[in-house]
């Protein structure tokens, strides 16, 4: 237990306790002082301070909050802080590539995939995880993996972007 940072704040009981959790985010060890029941999404956004990961629904329905844990795409709004240990590697959109040049990011720029962009961090993280698992995904693979919601309607370009990323990677 770490005392809350501000004097006037009181911790009222176990269920709202603030505790310190260590996370490995984008290769960096960070300490998060928060209720262990806080979803990882909000720990990342409000405590770690990385806001590329978005809140769209909070119920694992939209994928805007997708990050990787040990390479697996997960919906961080439905993953509690207490369920993540510091030995697990969390990667957010900010850490996907050092210079924004992951093949998916490059393909996204080539094809101008994003519209408003709000869903796109999640889209890119889901697409990157798909490519890591299946270097040459079929359309059926894409259908199955890419269940993120985009209200602007970028779906066809997302699909084209994944195929373009494969081509970009294989052609060097």
């Amino acid at each position: 237990m770490v005392p809350p940072s501000r004097g006037e704040q009181r911790v009222s009981g176990r269920e709202h306790a603030i505790a310190m959790t260590r996370l490995n985010v984008n290769g960096r060890l960070v300490e998060v002082n928060a209720d262990p029941d806080t979803p990882l999404l909000w720990a990342i956004r409000d405590h770690v301070g990385l806001t590329g990961t978005k809140y769209g629904c909070g119920i694992a329905a939209c994928g805007a909050c997708t990050v990787h844990i040990d390479g697996q795409p997960i919906r961080s709004c439905a993953t509690l802080l207490s369920a993540v240990s510091e030995t697990q590697k969390i990667v957010t959109i900010e850490g996907l590539s050092p210079d924004g040049n992951h093949p998916i990011q490059r393909a996204w720029r080539e094809l101008d995939v994003p519209q408003c962009g709000f869903c796109q961090s999640g889209m890119i993280m889901a697409a990157a995880a798909l490519l890591a698992e299946k270097p040459q995904p079929t359309d059926a693979d894409i259908d199955e993996a890419m269940t993120n919601i985009c209200r602007c309607g970028t779906y066809n370009r997302v699909r084209a972007g994944i195929h373009a990323a494969v081509r970009g990677r294989t052609s060097g």
Partner: protein, 727 residues
């Protein structure tokens, strides 16, 4: 407030930018805004768009908002076409409505809706670019002591052809800024365009691929707190009581507040702390009379309107009632369209700093000026002491043209003076406190002669009027003209594409307590379904080909017919169906100044599962500023329109909206997305919109294709709970 400036680096450098050309306008340094406000506007608004820095960076100012529709890029193309600047050095920045107010509305209308971001701005932003170019050339000419006519500009460089001398825009900026703006400002002949009409890549894509773009929801300021509000779930209801003490001592909680009459909010250090405390807050609501309203009571009211004696007339030719009464045969059908939520991916939010002297708001909005009015009213301060600092939108679709959420955010911040408060809605709040697609029903009756030709058509719409809720002053003797989008007798905006011997289109206004609003496509969405599906019914009832019947009625509407012909040809209308496809459907409509049509190919499995294989869309928007952006908008509008067709429905129980998140308000996903082919066929001579028009033909084309595939005529939206198996 250093953080704020970091978010807008270009503004910061602009403020400091001595020697920068700020055509016709000097942005006051922070703190001196009040002074600037006191200076009357002296320059024409065409001169407010362009800033040139000594290092040749070009900053173009935007009054319209970017919400994913590509307006930023399109506006820059229009200015750059005339400015002759280096495209790779263009940056943009939002002007604030406060600056515009202080400059006598130098930037014109801020509204970004009705597919008008480009078409309503095109003239004055092009003139802004042209005026700046003329001044830069003049500055060079006078430096060289040569006639301006001997100089030309290209890629931000002015060249004196006879001597080959050159000067960069950045070197000329300071001198050009001192010149008198030209008047009049000539524009290029469209045949000379080299930037407009090109598929320029978007200027803002990169930051959307790295998480770097800061949306309103992402704002951080020193000392900022987060507020999560909740309104009475019954529209028009109020807060009876709440027990702040029950949650006040939870970690991070700073304030538990009443927000006006009808809402409460918890203010905490973080969103999650505020949200969980709000969930735990005991609140008693008083829904009042409205708590008795349900979808069934609303439906009964609309059904009554279908046959009511009184109705507002939208379009009347000849005597439709008499023609139908005397017809050899009648075809009649009743259609309906539900409430739908805009559900942009970024939930409503606004960050506010309120003091007794000033109110500043940072937020995504589709209309900076309306946001300023809302902020000023809620802040209890004159507009001159408020301002709106716009952020790119995480989707708008019409929801962010109205500012109920902003007003509440100001009411919250007012109770915590001097502290930046970011008010963030949960998705659940966004779902149940929306401003909804209006609910309507429609009875269509066609009279046919012995040969099956239409002698008269009566289209009776019953249901909600958007204007009566949003802009009651815009009603015309009680009549809502917007109700008849796509059905008007004539006009450059949304005229019907058919001529019937006798026609009556009227509207029995039946409003509900659920607030309606403009929703991408607006009233076209249902009007196109009503008319285009019913015409399909008439065609089948009279053994006519749906395309042939339409073409017969379209003799006087060549532009409508041209787009319809284009999709029919591309989809192979009348030809054999590709493997797996069971039926084709077509539809056309004119809206937002553009002519659009769609043709769809579908199949329905024995279990009733719909597959939309392919949609071909054609759009004649007069002038196509950026064909690739148009393609993206067409695809996007189809996703939005097909989401609405397949899943979009908000129902009412005990006065409140029942759907609370994407689990109960589902939307189209990637796997369901058809192949989309876009035909962009600008016929020139007018500026039509792009963001919305194609949405209106997606649903009727698919519904008509479902009929072709299954013999099932679907007359209500959405499809999710309907049995689509073969009739």
């Amino acid at each position: 407030m250093n953080k704020i400036d970091r978010i807008r680096p270009s503004r910061r450098s602009l403020l400091k930018g001595a020697g920068a050309l700020v055509v016709g306008f000097h942005l006051a340094p922070k703190g001196a805004l009040a002074q600037a406000a006191a200076t009357p506007a002296q320059t024409p608004e065409i001169n407010a768009w362009v800033v040139v820095h000594p290092d040749d960076r070009i900053v173009l100012r935007m009054a319209r908002s970017e919400m994913g529709q590509g307006t930023r890029t399109g506006l820059c193309q229009m200015i750059a076409e005339e400015l002759h600047c280096d495209w790779s050095r263009i940056e943009t920045e939002y002007v604030t409505p406060g600056q515009s107010l202080a400059r006598n509305r130098a930037w014109g209308n801020f509204l970004t809706a009705g597919s008008q971001g480009i078409r309503q701005s095109q003239d004055y932003v092009r003139r802004g670019g042209a005026a700046a170019r003329i001044m830069l050339i003049e500055a060079a000419a006078s430096q060289w002591g040569v006639p301006a006519a001997e100089c030309s500009a290209r890629d931000s460089v002015v060249t004196h052809a006879p001597t080959g001398r050159t000067l960069r825009y950045g070197q000329l900026a300071a001198a050009a800024a001192r010149l008198t703006p030209p008047n009049p400002v000539p524009l290029k002949d469209p045949r000379e365009w080299t930037v407009i009409g090109q598929s320029k890549p978007r200027l803002d894509t990169a930051a959307k691929t790295t998480g770097a773009l800061v949306y309103g929801a992402d704002l951080k300021m020193p000392g900022m707190l987060v507020a999560v509000p909740r309104r009475c779930p019954v529209f028009g209801g109020r807060v009876k009581s709440f027990d702040a003490a029950a949650v006040r001592n939870r970690p991070g909680v700073r304030h538990v507040l009443a927000v006006g009459e009808n809402a409460v909010a918890v203010v905490a250090d973080t969103f999650w702390q505020a949200k969980t405390a709000l969930d735990a807050l005991p609140v008693e609501w008083d829904g009042g009379e409205n708590a008795r309203v349900s979808s069934a009571t609303i439906d009964a009211r609309l059904t009554e309107g279908l046959d009511a004696a009184e109705a507002f007339v939208g379009n009347s030719q000849g005597d439709a009632r008499a023609a139908i009464a005397g017809a050899a045969r009648k075809v009649e059908a009743v259609y309906s369209y539900p409430f739908q939520n805009h559900a942009p991916m970024e939930p409503m939010n606004a960050t506010v700093v309120w003091t007794p002297q000033r109110c500043d708001v940072w937020c995504p909005t589709q209309n900076g000026e309306a946001a300023l009015v809302a902020a000023s009213q809620a802040a209890g301060l004159p507009q001159q002491q408020c301002d709106i600092h716009r952020m790119d939108l995480g989707g708008g679709f019409g929801r962010r043209t109205t500012h109920d959420w902003l007003a509440d955010a100001v009411l919250i911040a007012r109770q915590v003076p001097g502290v930046p408060i970011k008010t963030m809605w949960t998705r659940e709040e966004d779902m149940v406190q929306g401003r909804y697609h209006p609910v309507t029903k429609c009875k269509l009756t066609a009279g046919l002669d012995a040969n099956g030709e239409v002698t008269g058509l009566h289209m009776r719409i019953s249901g909600q009027s958007i204007l009566s809720f949003v802009f009651p002053n815009a009603l015309q003797n009680g009549r809502d003209p917007v109700q008849f989008q796509g059905l008007n007798a004539s006009g450059a905006e949304s005229a019907i594409g058919y001529t019937f011997p006798n026609l009556l289109i009227d509207h029995a206004m039946r409003n509900t307590h659920v607030p309606p609003h403009f929703w991408r496509g607006v009233n076209h969405n249902q009007n196109a379904i009503y008319l285009e599906c019913f015409l399909d019914e008439v065609a089948h009832a009279t053994n006519q080909d749906p395309l042939a019947l339409r073409r017969k009625l379209m003799a006087n509407h060549p532009k409508h017919r041209a787009v319809l012909d284009a999709v029919a040809e591309r989809i192979g209308w009348g030809g054999p169906l590709p493997a797996g496809v069971q039926g084709r459907g077509i539809a056309q409509q004119m809206g937002f100044g553009s002519y659009v049509a769609a043709a769809a190919e579908v199949s329905v499995s024995p279990r009733g599962e719909l597959t939309i294989h392919r949609i071909v869309a054609a759009t004649d928007c007069g002038v196509a500023v950026n064909p690739k952006q148009i393609e993206m908008q067409v695809e996007g509008s189809f996703v939005y329109g097909l989401s609405a067709l397949l899943y979009g429905e908000c129902t009412v129980k005990d006065g409140a909206i029942e759907q609370t998140n994407f689990d109960t308000y589902n939307v189209l996903r990637l796997a369901e997305m058809p192949k989309v082919e876009t035909i962009v066929m600008p016929s020139g001579g007018f500026w039509g919109g792009v963001g919305e028009p194609t949405i209106m033909v997606a649903a009727p084309a698919v519904l008509n294709a479902i009929f072709a595939a299954t013999g099932k005529r679907i007359r209500s939206v959405p499809l999710k709970d309907q049995d689509l198996r073969r009739a």
